[in-house]
């Protein structure tokens, strides 16, 4: 504690020098490029959160995305460079629902930044503000790597994006009340745009209602629910457990019996097993991006759902 007290005036002094923007400019640029910029520097776990936060925060914030959009969100390598990003953040927004359990805790623990600790007012866990579905009634690893709090891939219901936008707006206002009007306006703009989009997507998906689908892992649960698609099976025998030949044969039988439209496949698992099933049954394989930059065409939030709603033909 002593050390912190001693350092604080020191930092304040540097801040004054920096604000005055005098001689020591270059030293300051080298040492404190992130912590002293005028806007809020917000670290977020996944690209979709970054895009949403940027949409509401506009020019008053910088977002730093920790995970890459084309990787399995459950398995992110806790690279030390991410520690530096968390260390320099003024706030942190995560998905929650245990999606980050395998990689974010050691980063927070190493960063030594109280602003990115879960008890801080500058920390936001989005899963606390959304109703999670498929919450298991009992939890046992015999059932695979299940999420005890329910399915955490809630952002793939486009209606949930609106809920999350509001949560993020309130969060930004709570930590930066000065720019309340800006955040309110950005939110209103986003709301208008998104509502229009929601109608379009609804129209596009109207004739897909009731279609049966197969997935690799049930990460489209919310998307399927939103548009009335029915998931009848997964290629992995249990969550997090790689495909087995026995289960693959069972899925082939299931496909022959139930005649689902397609296999909705994520971008990060190998499609080898799906292709084998396709050969045996003739079922289509449709790549479904789960986040921004999961596929090259998907560069923002709206194009993510444009793609998803147009993928099943």
């Amino acid at each position: 504690m002593k050390i912190q007290v001693r350092l604080k005036p020191h930092f304040r002094k540097i801040r004054i020098i920096a604000q005055g923007f005098v001689m020591k400019k270059y030293l300051f640029l080298f040492l404190f490029p992130l912590s002293l910029l005028a806007h809020l520097n917000i670290a977020v776990s996944y690209p979709y959160i970054g895009a949403l936060t940027k949409a509401i925060g506009g020019d008053h914030i910088e977002t730093v995305v920790l995970a890459k959009g084309n990787w399995d969100p459950h398995f992110i390598v806790p690279r030390p460079s991410l520690i530096a990003k968390v260390r320099n953040a003024d706030a942190l927004i995560m998905n929650g629902g245990q999606l980050e359990i395998g990689w974010l805790p050691p980063l927070l623990n190493r960063a030594g930044n109280p602003k990115s600790m879960p008890n801080a007012p500058t920390f936001l866990n989005l899963s606390h503000h959304v109703e999670l579905i498929n919450k298991p009634s009992s939890v046992d690893r015999k059932e695979g790597d299940i999420h005890p709090d329910g399915n955490p891939h809630f952002h793939l219901d486009p209606a949930n994006i609106l809920l999350l936008a509001e949560v993020i707006k309130k969060f930004l206002i709570s930590i930066d009340g000065e720019h309340k009007a800006v955040y309110e306006k950005n939110y209103a703009d986003f709301l208008g745009m998104w509502q229009k989009k929601l109608g379009m997507w609804q129209e596009k998906m109207a004739d897909k209602k009731g279609l049966k689908v197969i997935q690799f892992h049930d990460n489209l649960a919310y998307f399927n629910k939103a548009y009335g698609l029915e998931n009848i099976g997964t290629i992995e025998p249990l969550p997090g457990i790689p495909p087995s030949s026995k289960h693959t044969m069972a899925i082939i039988e299931l496909i022959k019996k139930e005649n689902p439209c397609c296999i909705l496949h994520d971008v990060y698992h190998a499609t080898k097993t799906a292709e084998f099933i396709g050969e045996k049954t003739g079922i289509k394989i449709v790549l479904m991006p789960h986040d921004i930059e999961a596929l090259e065409e998907v560069q923002d939030l709206a194009s993510l759902f444009d793609y998803l709603t147009g993928a099943i033909r």
Partner: protein, 441 residues
């Protein structure tokens, strides 16, 4: 009559049943069960097949560096077993890990090693969570952040045994000490961390501060007793940095440790009783490159180099078989020589992770410098110590892995200074249950 009996029996059941109703957790007055910390148990067991017997390997050594690296031996009356010590089945440990936040300012972690010889507190420390400015303080018993592999637990290593240079210089626990640690992550756009540790200084192979009654062993009254130093006597500092280039992470570190040395083999080795007292320095450099092909597949190259300087006096039994003091040609009692050890070694390993189920790796170990001068004279000890390892691992899930490892050990010498070649095949099971925190890089 029957009716009455039946009714009363039913009533009793009803009353009893009511009394035994278990209230839901949220309605139990004073219930604290929600504060249970994260608990996990990790089992590590192995089956070992070695080309030499247990008895043979126990007496092998790295001349001038270390002995007792393979097999089990007793020390201070305690049975010490290295990991995978015996032919056949080994229970390396059942590790109990507890961790939780203490309050808004602190967290606490305890790692308890249960083995057939008892329980060892591997780690038990508190960590600050609210200091800010990138600062983190830790106190208790901890694994030092010296180097790269030292701070990692055995269950996270890519091989079932410790790198040779670590085990030879520091013993199977590495720098695992009572003490305090302060780390600072710099506010730079890339990762930069500096740390400093003050530790008690009681390491099995290298550091120590106890007093030694050497004259009792040497039989020479001129050998003054070695005075113990007041702990803490071990100081560790390090600097680590990392950058990413695309999907490749480069990580490097420089470490330094300095302390007193006391090596006491006065009683546990009756034939060759000896002791060493002096000051020691340990330098380390580590370099890791991790390239990720996708979410599950990667290639990791990890190398660490260690160099140590131990400067002190070597004491040994100076009596001959009939109990007379040994003398030189002129009739002088042999003195206890000043001794300087300068030793260096490294390991380098390459691990390929194919997918969530399969992993394979190779490792090369060497100690290539072994300059030991006693009384100003170079003892010309061998510096030819090598070890080669390969392994393949199968994971049924994140929580269970089975590893097949083969070691070719060409680093150990027998009592006649003859190099021994030892082949070892090891099948290891490492299984975890419960809530276990994710590992850092």
């Amino acid at each position: 009559m029957k009716k009455i009996l039946l009714t009363s029996a039913l009533c009793a059941t009803y009353l009893f049943g009511d009394a035994a109703t278990v209230l839901p957790v949220e309605k139990r007055t004073f219930d604290q069960s929600k504060y249970i910390p994260d608990i996990s148990v990790i089992l590590d067991a192995s089956y070992v097949n070695r080309s030499k017997t247990n008895d043979e390997v126990q007496h092998l050594e790295l001349p001038g560096v270390a002995h007792g690296l393979l097999g089990s031996h007793s020390h201070d009356g305690n049975e010490h077993a290295t990991y995978n010590a015996n032919q056949g089945f080994n229970l390396n440990y059942a590790e109990l890990v507890l961790s939780s936040s203490v309050d808004p300012f602190l967290s606490l972690d305890a790692v308890l090693h249960f083995s057939e010889n008892g329980v060892e507190v591997e780690e038990a420390y508190f960590t600050t969570t609210a200091l800010g400015n990138g600062l983190r303080f830790r106190g208790g018993k901890l694994l030092s952040n010296f180097g790269y592999i030292n701070a990692q637990h055995h269950h996270y290593w890519d091989f079932g045994d410790m790198p040779l240079v670590y085990e030879a210089f520091l013993g199977m626990h590495g720098i695992n000490e009572l003490g305090a640690q302060l780390q600072w992550t710099a506010p730079t756009p890339f990762y930069l961390m500096a740390g400093f540790e003050v530790l008690q200084g009681a390491n099995e192979q290298m550091f120590g501060n106890s007093s030694l009654e050497v004259s009792k062993m040497t039989g020479d009254a001129n050998d003054a007793a070695i005075v113990g130093k007041d702990a803490p006597t071990l100081f560790v500092g390090y600097l680590k940095s990392s950058v990413d280039v695309g999907d490749t992470t480069f990580f490097g570190g420089l470490s330094y440790a300095q302390g007193y040395s006391r090596i006491d083999h006065m009683e546990d080795e009756p034939e060759e009783a000896h002791a060493f007292a002096g000051k020691s320095k340990l330098y380390g450099a580590d370099f890791v490159v991790l390239h990720s092909f996708d979410s599950y597949s990667s290639l990791k190259w990890q190398t660490e180099w260690l160099n140590r300087e131990m400067d002190g006096t070597q004491y040994a039994n100076k009596k001959d078989a009939s109990g007379n003091l040994l003398t030189d040609a002129d009739g002088y009692i042999l003195s206890s020589p000043s001794m300087l050890k300068e030793q260096s070694g490294l390991y380098s390993q390459l691990i390929y992770t194919h997918d969530k189920s399969w992993k394979a790796g190779v490792r090369y170990d060497t100690i290539y410098k072994n300059d030991v001068t006693a009384g100003g004279v170079n003892r010309n000890l061998t510096d030819d110590f090598n070890k080669y390892s390969v392994m393949v691992e199968y994971h049924t899930s994140e929580f269970a892995r089975f590893r097949l490892q083969y070691n070719r050990n060409e680093a150990l010498y027998n009592e006649d200074d003859r190099k021994q070649k030892i082949d070892t095949i090891m099948l290891q099971a490492n299984i975890a249950i419960g809530a276990h925190a994710a590992h850092s890089f």
